[in-house]
């Protein structure tokens, strides 16, 4: 679980600190306020976990290489240069810092001519072994066959979140007795709504199976493929409440029928209640509102909304609130207000003004 993230002079951020809820975090903000960058930075700093899991005596050098490579592959800066991720116009070094549960920390710096990160602090970081999951904006079931090997061989214009998610989806299923009760519930709910289940044969081959027939995954609606990814990640244990690291999800609403959103929010709230941290970005009123509507403090739900905005000096700031109504500025609500104003102007001219 990631508790705190600090970014200084990094990409779009001049100086930003954010405290995450251990349950659900919803990041909102207009385009260009760095929502995805924030998500990727936090995900990137979680990348040491698998390293120590597989090799407990990983050296500082290996960690540095891994984290540098991860950031480059996630952010894909111009010319693949780390220095390009340095905040433009800043003379101080870029600084990334994350604090996880049990006071595990990682902090790294770089300058605009650096080739590699410099680790400044890694207190207990070797104990951080919960692997994070990043769900990118696009669904991948329609193109994951062969994607991973192509990604390794060629310079595809996909950031590494796509490769990572394909690898996780292709893992084998966990043993039924290991499957968390809430994961099983969520998978059944998703299968109920989709009318069947996605079946993974390995190597990225995916089909969709109903009671009587089997179809190509590509024949299914994009929204089904998206929730199908969530179902599969639960099935493989990549998302396992209480065990896995944070689930980062960039705009879950894209390609999703608004009717599926209620179920998605129900599932995320339920998983979070069982100690699955969720950090997502959204532009969507319906998704945001479902969190507001379905959040039940009595059920130990907790949702924190983080609003990214640019201040009068164009610096990106964050305001974190616990209540949906306190979100300000709320670009999503403002859009609805603009629609209201536009209709009044178009249909009523200056009446009442």
């Amino acid at each position: 679980m990631i508790e705190h993230l600090k970014l200084r002079n990094f990409t779009a951020f001049n100086d930003l600190s954010i405290d995450f809820s251990p349950r659900v975090n919803v990041i909102v903000g207009e385009n260009g306020t760095g929502k995805t960058q924030l998500l990727k930075a936090a995900y990137g700093l979680c990348a040491g976990a698998p390293l120590f899991k597989n090799k407990p005596d990983t050296s500082d050098e290996e960690l540095t290489t891994k984290l540098t490579d991860k950031l480059l592959r996630l952010f894909m800066p111009l010319d693949d240069r780390l220095g390009r991720m340095h905040h433009q116009g800043s003379s101080d070094q870029a600084y990334l810092h994350a604090r996880f549960a049990h006071d595990q920390k990682i902090a790294a710096t770089f300058f605009n001519n650096s080739k590699s990160l410099v680790i400044q602090d890694r207190s207990n970081y070797e104990n951080y072994q919960s692997e994070a999951v990043f769900m990118p904006t696009k669904e991948v079931l329609s193109f994951m066959k062969g994607f991973t090997s192509l990604y390794e061989r060629y310079g595809l214009s996909f950031d590494q979140t796509y490769q990572d998610i394909c690898l996780l989806l292709d893992l084998p299923e966990v043993r039924p007795e290991t499957l968390h009760e809430r994961s099983k519930w969520a998978m059944d709910e998703i299968a109920g709504v989709c009318g069947g289940r996605f079946v993974f044969y390995g190597g990225g081959k995916v089909t969709f199976k109903t009671e009587n027939a089997e179809y190509s995954a590509n024949a299914m609606a994009e929204g089904f493929r998206k929730v199908g990814m969530l179902s599969r990640l639960l099935e493989t244990g990549a998302i396992q409440p209480g065990v896995s690291g944070p689930l980062f999800w960039d705009e879950p609403e894209s390609n999703l029928n608004p009717k599926l959103m209620k179920l998605l929010v129900q599932i995320l709230l339920e998983l979070s209640r069982k100690d699955q941290q969720v950090i997502l970005t959204t532009h969507d009123y319906v998704l945001l509102k479902w969190f507001d509507m379905l959040m039940d403090k009595g059920k130990e739900h907790h949702v924190r909304y983080h609003v990214l905005y640019r201040d009068e000096n164009r610096k990106i700031k964050v305001d974190s609130v616990e209540d949906y109504r306190a979100i300000s500025p709320n670009a999503i609500a403002d859009t609805f207000n603009d629609l209201t104003k536009e209709q009044v102007n178009k249909m009523m001219g200056g009446l009442g003004q």
Binding site: Y285, K289, I332, A333, F336, N337, L339, T340, K341, Q343, V344, M347, M348, L351, G352, Q353
Partner: protein, 170 residues
């Protein structure tokens, strides 16, 4: 003139006339008298237009749980928009019979909901008032020029000349 529906008060001082349209007390001016007809709360006459106003206040601090549950149910299953539409149609019919429909009519619904719900609710009500978005070449006039829902905040932003106040909060 200030018109009041429970705790909500709208100041139509700049209007030519403003009346409580759904007046069902015999001893009051503008007694409506036909209980079978649906009724909007207010009718306001301006220089160039007539405004029908319906007020619904689910966010009232005095709202009771049963009432809110019913309201939510009505909102979800489309009954609320159907009721809003019926109120407009019957009130329009009534005003026609009074021979008081010589100007363009707007239907403004003041409903204390989140601003995100309002554009969709506006469209839903408009769709239930004939001609329901369809074009009818024989029609020479449109019964309603603008049918739109507002909350207190968006109402006040858009109609500063007709300020809305929640009296209980004063």
């Amino acid at each position: 003139m200030k018109l009041r529906e429970r705790d909500i008060e709208i100041d139509f001082t700049s209007a030519i006339d403003a009346l409580v349209f759904d007046q069902m007390k015999r001893n009051q001016p503008n007694y409506h008298g036909i209980g079978e007809m649906c009724r909007v709360d207010f009718v306001v006459e301006l220089d160039t237009a007539i405004i029908f106003v319906e007020v619904k206040d689910p966010s009232s601090p005095k709202a009771r749980t049963e009432g809110l549950t019913k309201f939510q149910q009505d909102l979800n299953d489309g009954t609320l928009s159907a009721k809003f539409a019926a109120k407009f149609v019957d009130s329009f019919f009534y005003r026609w019979a009074e021979d008081k429909l010589s100007k363009t009519v707007h239907y403004l619904i003041l409903v204390t909901l989140d601003s995100g719900v309002l554009p969709n609710l506006s469209d839903e009500v408009a769709k239930k008032i004939s001609p329901a978005g369809k074009s009818c070449t024989r029609w020479q006039r449109h019964p309603v020029q603008n049918c739109q829902a507002f909350n207190i905040e968006t109402w006040n932003q858009n109609f500063p000349k007709w300020p809305v106040t929640r009296l209980a909060s004063l």
